[in-house]
């Protein structure tokens, strides 16, 4: 009986920690990139970040490019400007969605073209949550969102 009780308590603990893991951790989802033409040197990736606590994205990297960089696209009047940003604030409980015409990840100096239907790894480093790996799905060159959301 004692053994049984111990087991059920242990099981309860396992379930509780699993539930905590789901809600208490930063999550990166819906990662996608635009396919690039054969000779393109730059690519672009987008994704969604959710964190129960405030955090900050400070670094991005991927083996497919010489350099990955956090960028933002801003409009001043009708003029489009792309600027690197040092970090990206992730507010607690609010999804941060990287999407066209906003914040994005620039992949500079691609080793080869990103082909539609393929995928590649990307590592995001957060101030508190540490490094997170994500698989990025490659969509059409002019895609406006991940396939799953269309």
């Amino acid at each position: 009986m004692v053994g049984c009780k111990f087991l059920s308590v242990a099981a309860g603990l396992v379930i509780t920690s699993a539930a905590l893991a789901q809600t208490n951790q930063l999550e990166v989802s819906d990662a996608w990139a635009r396919a690039t033409p054969a000779k393109a040197e730059n690519g672009i990736a987008f994704l969604t970040i959710r964190s129960p606590t405030s955090d900050r994205l400070v670094l991005v990297s991927s083996p497919v490019a010489r350099k990955a960089e956090l960028n933002t696209m801003e409009m001043s009047g009708m003029v489009m400007k792309m600027r690197p940003i040092a970090s990206l604030d992730i507010p607690a409980g609010q999804p941060v969605i990287l999407k066209p015409s906003g914040e994005h990840i620039m992949l500079m100096g691609l080793n080869g073209p990103l082909r539609e239907g393929q995928s590649f790894p990307l590592t995001l480093t957060f101030e508190k949550a540490g490094a997170r790996g994500v698989t990025v799905a490659v969509e059409k060159p002019g895609a406006t969102g991940p396939t799953s959301q269309r």
């Binding site: 635009r34 396919a35 690039t36 033409p37 054969a38 000779k39 393109a40 040197e41 730059n42 690519g43 672009i44 350099k67 960028n71 696209m73 409009m75 009047g77 009708m78 003029v79 489009m80 400007k81 792309m82 600027r83 690197p84 066209p100 015409s101 994005h104 620039m106 992949l107 500079m108 059409k140 060159p141 002019g142 895609a143 406006t144």
Partner: protein, 204 residues
Amino acid sequence: MTGIRLPRFALAALFLGGLVILGAAVFLGLAHRDSPRGAAGTLLASAIGGPFRLVDQNGKMVTDADLKGKWSLVYFGYTHCPDACPTALNDIAVALDELGPKRAAVRPVFITVDPERDTPEVLKSYVTAFDTPILALTGTPEEIAQAAKSYRVYYAKHPEAGGDYSMDHTSIIYVMDPQGRFTASFTHESSPEEIAERLKKLLA
């Protein structure tokens, strides 16, 4: 209780700022106004578009005269731009798909603002990635400057660490009629449906 008092120069600045905003609003209002004939025949029709001499993705010379006879959707951008430019070109491709048989009357034109990196070969590989035939143009820095001047397009190099650079540039899709007159405009934020609707009216 005294109200907020602004010095005279601040009032003047506010007034001038207001004038600039008003002017921009009038310009945009004109540029986006929805009349079947578009802006052709108005002052704007002659203010945007003009002479240029460039080469296409196959190395063939193209001048403003070659654009006549068809409607043109002219967009200035560069191939190292992975955000606004593919969005604009994709929106054009999707919009043209909705035109049916009239699609043949419209020619998308992509003019680079980055002639340093965008050679005809680079442009060729770039535009073939989109689902519609696109006339892609480049030239010497002087020729590009002339084309941009004709279309009132602003562009500037923005250097970044490690020798990389991005280009700031006007992000407008210009609709030119078969006589080469500016008729309407869109941005990379216009939806393909919006573009298709407007083009259907213009082509009717």
